[in-house]
């Protein structure tokens, strides 16, 4: 147990150190709101290759020079977590590691299990602390106007997980580590079926499959970029001054990327006459595409003078496909050939 506690402490400190040494916090806080693990690996000069791995989620090797392999057979956020785990092995100076699903998932609840390799516990802790440091929780809570108490709501934890690019369960256990809630609550929350949360967020719309993620987006997310997958759904909820003649309308949508599948309104105030309503426009991804969804709130007889606009950038290409990370191909392919 002493080893376990020391491993947790060391991995957490090292995750903080890499954030500081590589000036990650400033980039993320003022940027996309998620930590780019792939570019961090690349900036360290470590080759990163995505490929189909037989029975493995990822691997870290040291010879002929350090490198990271990540499976193409898992969703985006699982790929990111695996990459962060392998980055942990590298940053913490570990020996090579082959990481299969069983061993990584077994550690997912972040609990000490007898027989766990300390190196693996360190890498796993590093991954969680690297991808969701406390300051990143605070950054998103500030943007969404959530308090720690609001994070007792699993739908909010799910939305946080999507924004930082990790799995729901990893977010739950990381928040428990930050004492946002206790481990008993975390265990109950982690047991909730994601489909149930997605159903709740879709407010009656039933997709063909619940495989994709459900992003609930509001004016607090204006100009954010969604990094999601080709099955994802967006529920865009915007206050509409409908009692004053203003309606939100879609100004620009790439019909091959997104389709509007539901359009509804909810009361903001059930009693008053002439107040705003909450407009809820749900879109479903149609393809692996990048683009922008733009809406404008205007009076239909004065379209040229919108009182408000809203834009959302999205990248729905999903999981990384077979190949080198970005421009690493030239750089490392030749180095490996030489070494061979």
């Amino acid at each position: 147990m002493a080893n376990y506690v020391a491993a947790i402490r060391r991995a957490t400190l090292e995750a903080s150190r890499i954030h500081r040494d590589m000036a990650i916090q400033a980039q993320v806080v003022h940027g996309t709101g998620r930590i780019d693990v792939y570019s961090t690996i690349a900036r360290l000069g470590v080759p990163l290759f995505f490929t189909k791995l037989d029975g493995l989620l990822g691997a870290y090797y040291r010879h002929p020079s350090p490198g990271v392999l990540v499976t193409t057979e898992r969703p985006l956020n699982q790929q990111r977590f695996t990459a962060a785990h392998e980055l942990g092995h590298h940053w913490l100076g570990h020996t090579p590691s082959l990481d299969d699903e069983e061993s990584m998932l077994r550690r997912a609840p972040f609990q000490a299990i007898k027989g766990d390799d300390v190196q693996e516990v360190e890498a796993e802790t590093f991954a969680a602390a690297f991808l969701l440091p406390r300051w990143l929780v605070d950054r998103h809570c500030e943007q969404q106007e959530w308090t720690d108490a609001d994070l007792l709501d699993p739908t909010r934890v799910y939305q946080l997980a999507l924004r930082v690019g990790i799995s729901f369960k990893a977010a739950v256990w990381t928040l428990a580590r930050y004492d946002v809630f206790d481990r008993k609550i975390a265990a109950a929350m982690a047991d909730i079926e994601l489909k149930k949360i997605k159903k709740q967020l879709l407010r009656g719309y039933e997709p063909k499959s619940y495989k994709g993620d459900v992003w609930v987006v509001s004016e607090r997310d204006a100009h954010m970029r969604i990094d999601g997958g080709p099955n994802d759904l967006f529920v865009v909820g915007l206050a509409e001054h409908s009692g004053s003649g203003y309606l939100w309308r879609i100004e620009s949508i790439d019909g091959e990327a997104l389709a509007v599948v539901a359009d509804a309104r909810e009361d903001i105030d059930a009693e008053g006459i002439g107040g705003s309503t909450m407009r809820l426009i749900t879109t479903a991804a149609q393809d692996r595409r990048l683009g922008e969804l733009r809406l404008a709130e205007s009076r239909p007889w004065q379209l040229a003078n919108p009182r408000n606009t809203f834009a959302l950038q999205y990248n729905l290409t999903g999981a990384e496909q077979q190949g080198w990370y970005k421009d690493q191909r030239k750089q490392h392919h030749q180095a490996l050939l030489k070494a061979a």
């Binding site: 009692g243 004053s244 203003y246 006459i273 107040g275 009076r299």
Partner: protein, 226 residues
Amino acid sequence: MPIAPTVDLRNQFGPVRDQGDRPTCLAFAASDAHAALRGPWTALSCEFAFYHAQRRAGRPPTKGALLSHMLRTIKDDGQPIEDAWPYLNALPADLDNYGPPSSVTVFRRNGEACPKAVDEVLAHLDDGRPVMVLMMISDSFYLPAVDGAIRAPAGKLPDPKRRHAVVAVGHGIADGHRAILIRNSWGVGWGLQGYGWLTEPFLAPRLTAVALLTEDLDVPTQNLAA
């Protein structure tokens, strides 16, 4: 082809006003009905009416008003002319700075909710009295046809979440149906210079309340309730 009014009270009113993006339609409907009854037309301060109605209801000025509190306000708090507290296009950033002038001359008038029926609206219009009409609105309300008519959208149910208040100022016949001429508070760019015709098939299932301002209560008095 224009819809010919059988009864038309528009000459009791000044130019249509614009509430902007604030939730003040009910205050505009009450104020304009009140000003028309006083005649000749001098616009009354709907900011004053809205402020007091919200204060009576314990509701913030960022939300819509309630009919019962608006009628009570016109009766008990009254309202001054528009120039005494002109309409604010936007609330002050600090709501502590939102309040009426300290001393103004106000006009009071009794009011009452009436049975919720198109017949009721027509009967009061026939008597020469403008009527406050509260209703649910649908997409077709936002863009009246060239003749100013707002027709029932085919296959669409009333939307109880979108609620609006206007003043009924006349009636006629459109498409063979009874139609009520309304004065909106969305500026002169909406409909026919700010007026539109609600056809009975549109209005009847969407009508939520009807109210009337009745007798003048007293001579102008000072209101010190700032």
